[in-house]
Symmetry: C2
Subunit: 555 residues, 2 copies
Amino acid sequence: MSGTVRVLPLGGVGEIGKNMTVVEYDGRIVVVDCGLRFPTAEMMGIDLVLPDFTYLRENVDKIDAIVITHGHEDHIGSLPWVIRDLGQEKIPVVYGGQLTIAMARSKLDEHKLRDVNLEVLPIGDVVEAGPFTLERVHLTHSIPDASGVAIGTPLGTVFFTGDYKFDQTPVIGPPADMSRLAELGREGLLLLCGDSTNADRPGISDSESIVGPHLNRVFGRCEGRIVVTCFASNIHRVQQVVHAAEKNGRKVALVGRSMRKNVNIGRSLGHIDIPEGMLLPPREIDQWPDEKIVVISTGSQGEPLSALRRMAYRDHPQVELKSGDTVVFSATPIPGNERAVNETIDRLYHIGCTVVTARDAPIHASGHGYAEEVKMMINLTRPKYVMPVHGDFKRMLLHGELAQAVGVPEENIFRTENGTPLEISAEGAKFGKPEHSGMIFVDGVDIGDVSDVALRDRRMLSADGIFIVVATISEEDGSSVVPPEVIARGVPFLEGNDKFTDDLREAVEDSLDAAAEQQITEVDVLQSHLHDDLAQFIYDRLKRRPMVLPVVVEV
Amino acid sequence: MSGTVRVLPLGGVGEIGKNMTVVEYDGRIVVVDCGLRFPTAEMMGIDLVLPDFTYLRENVDKIDAIVITHGHEDHIGSLPWVIRDLGQEKIPVVYGGQLTIAMARSKLDEHKLRDVNLEVLPIGDVVEAGPFTLERVHLTHSIPDASGVAIGTPLGTVFFTGDYKFDQTPVIGPPADMSRLAELGREGLLLLCGDSTNADRPGISDSESIVGPHLNRVFGRCEGRIVVTCFASNIHRVQQVVHAAEKNGRKVALVGRSMRKNVNIGRSLGHIDIPEGMLLPPREIDQWPDEKIVVISTGSQGEPLSALRRMAYRDHPQVELKSGDTVVFSATPIPGNERAVNETIDRLYHIGCTVVTARDAPIHASGHGYAEEVKMMINLTRPKYVMPVHGDFKRMLLHGELAQAVGVPEENIFRTENGTPLEISAEGAKFGKPEHSGMIFVDGVDIGDVSDVALRDRRMLSADGIFIVVATISEEDGSSVVPPEVIARGVPFLEGNDKFTDDLREAVEDSLDAAAEQQITEVDVLQSHLHDDLAQFIYDRLKRRPMVLPVVVEV
């Protein structure tokens, strides 16, 4: 539609507009972010969850650019799958900050996608992409090089905040560019798509800088080894740990693959400064006295295979913890991870470690602005329309209330759903017809829409296991040729219970006899007949509903 | 061992001495509590987790009594299984408070165990049981009728606190009996087994009574329907909801099976007072204006089948919620339930409900005493030895530190493990040889030690599904008689992928041919050979490791 700006969030579940948003004008497309999310416990065995980008596939020739706001997985993680699917040559350019592009390159390399046109878009530059202009605006977040994206259209500018907070004293680099935000406001912003993550927290978030002095104080009380765990992408947090270590006369060692990878990239780009000689390879940890060491580790969320988890279970090849050591959790658990984090902590207590968490000292700061910052963003950018994104329903609702509190009329606030485009023209704004959206799953090498059937089967298998019954019958008269085979997996208490297995075999024979009487010969029908009889038999006897899978072989 | 008091915790995982503890003297036994716990996510499909009571089975003739401290599931829940297993006639008597015994009776009735000798042991009474004396001491907790248990032996008295707080202003009934605790102290307490649940929280817990006025204030602001969710056994909380409803001119309706059951029992025993005409049957809710109704509901933990969860998903037969209604969470999520609770809350926002949680107003109070109360308990009872129980490792450690802070010598504090008895004689106290302990699982009608194999199978099935391959071969030469059957369950992306299934069938034939060449004829060996070949084939193609189950039928 010419003369119409269309903003279509495609990303994820639970949260809206987080992983991927399509901006359209005059039949052309810019994509903001290409992220993914991690599966919940109910998505059994699924490795990753991508936004369903069918819409991009169907409109691939319209894409002028992809812009990434920052390097967190939920904004950058689906890039390899999206690009492989759409074709490297089909995406004219992927823009982002220097660190973000370096992280994208490292990801694409791992997927052997080496022909993608990745370009650093420096702060202050404005580039054209089809009918759009693109500009990154510097903001602050829990990863360096985070930015909002201003997309200029003939109708006006759409601004995506990405993830942000207004940190007035960031660890490295300037604070958020409030001046440019205000300028966007003075120029007249058409639409603001703003982060709602902490819209429910009153006041203003703590600066990342408050963490350093508290880490320093905690370190000062420690006598043994110190292990600090935080998100591997939180380069400025790592920087503060390094400074605190230095002040306390300790060396640092990085443990965990993603920690080493991110710090290396961050170091090469100047986002972190580790003085010469401060950094020890993990294998040298044991050559230094305990009181000279700080280990910086992955595993702040209690992830099963993470370095810290392995230390807690005394299973890490390089780091052995003991009584008198201290483990500092410089992160808070993401909802759903509480139990895994608690288990890790309790194992550490078992070993005799002291554990310090964000409950005990201010050693963590959130990367997302609180309610006053959300209001500040709206007051600076003075948007005509507001579309709250990044959050569950509640937080987007609260974001809308904050917008009203600073004077945005209620009718100009649009709480959308993934797949529902907001269409803005000279006449005003309204929701358009929903487009195809949803999630697709990565499972092993395959990606696709894991049919509900497969997940339902997995749930059933996981709850009660499976009985497989193989009946070999004569092609001529349907009679049993050999005794039926009965095999169970994931069904407890069967071992030694030969009587049950014998009875089940008998039930198979009875069911086959009954089928013969009813002249059931078609294999499919016979299998379904067997299934119903045996499922009933098993439920009556075990009061459980395992999957029952009869296989009839005709010979 | 004569002259020795033996205290053997048998209960549960993660927490110690919570579900069941055995006290022995002179070859006789008293059991304190018979509880259970709920399975964690990794215990796939398991319904309930009981303490492994093999030790009781082997020593059943020594049991003189079971004493239950209070009616929560983790203290009373395994009673039906334990009694059915040991035999009703083998347990001379089960003691507890009036409410506790009523709840036990209701549970045992459901299991058709009607010949158990259940006896109310009133506060102040001391009964004899073998070489022991038994006395309940009134304490306060989040269920009425909670008590500690003092077990007198010729060597001195052992005191189990059960779950407790020192609530100076309980909603109904007297505060904790500090006077009797002090008397126990003056008489000289041998051992204190004390609740560690909140040993990590500084200060003193809030009184249950603070909740009422805040509920009243919240109700005063509501215009639509109000739903309050709390634990069904928290009768005093329900009482306060009823009072607040009354003050606001609203009727109450109880929704959820356990809520109705517990309130009925509590009402019949005078633990809750619901004025005539206040209580509506759920089916009459719709006949009253919204502003005249308070629904009290189960589901405070986001449980999948609970009444509140069904309301949130617009699936409750009697209660339909809409914009303008208010849902009050008068409980906090137990670790591990956060995500389910958050999901429920977000669904409620979606409907347009206002949601009030303990974060927004003090509408919940914990049932377990904080650090100062733990110290108070030790100062009152002045035990010679202290055994911290009920808690993870960290909290029991902190409980020990609190004991030291009030003067218990470090060498008199015993942090035990389940299965490890503390043995106290005139010479002193030490740990004895560990006894058999652990967990047993309830799965359907069966109870027992779910072998690791079954759980491992379920995990494998849930992560990647299963391939079943049925090869029918000739008894004479091992050649394939009919084409192999290939069936998959819980494996996504196979539908329409006939090529993969064909290739897999071919791989079966190849593997059978190779086996024939190697003269493999034994069915077991052949199956194992097939398994290895096919697992490799499937991993190479799908990069997943589903369970592979080859069945060879010889005809």
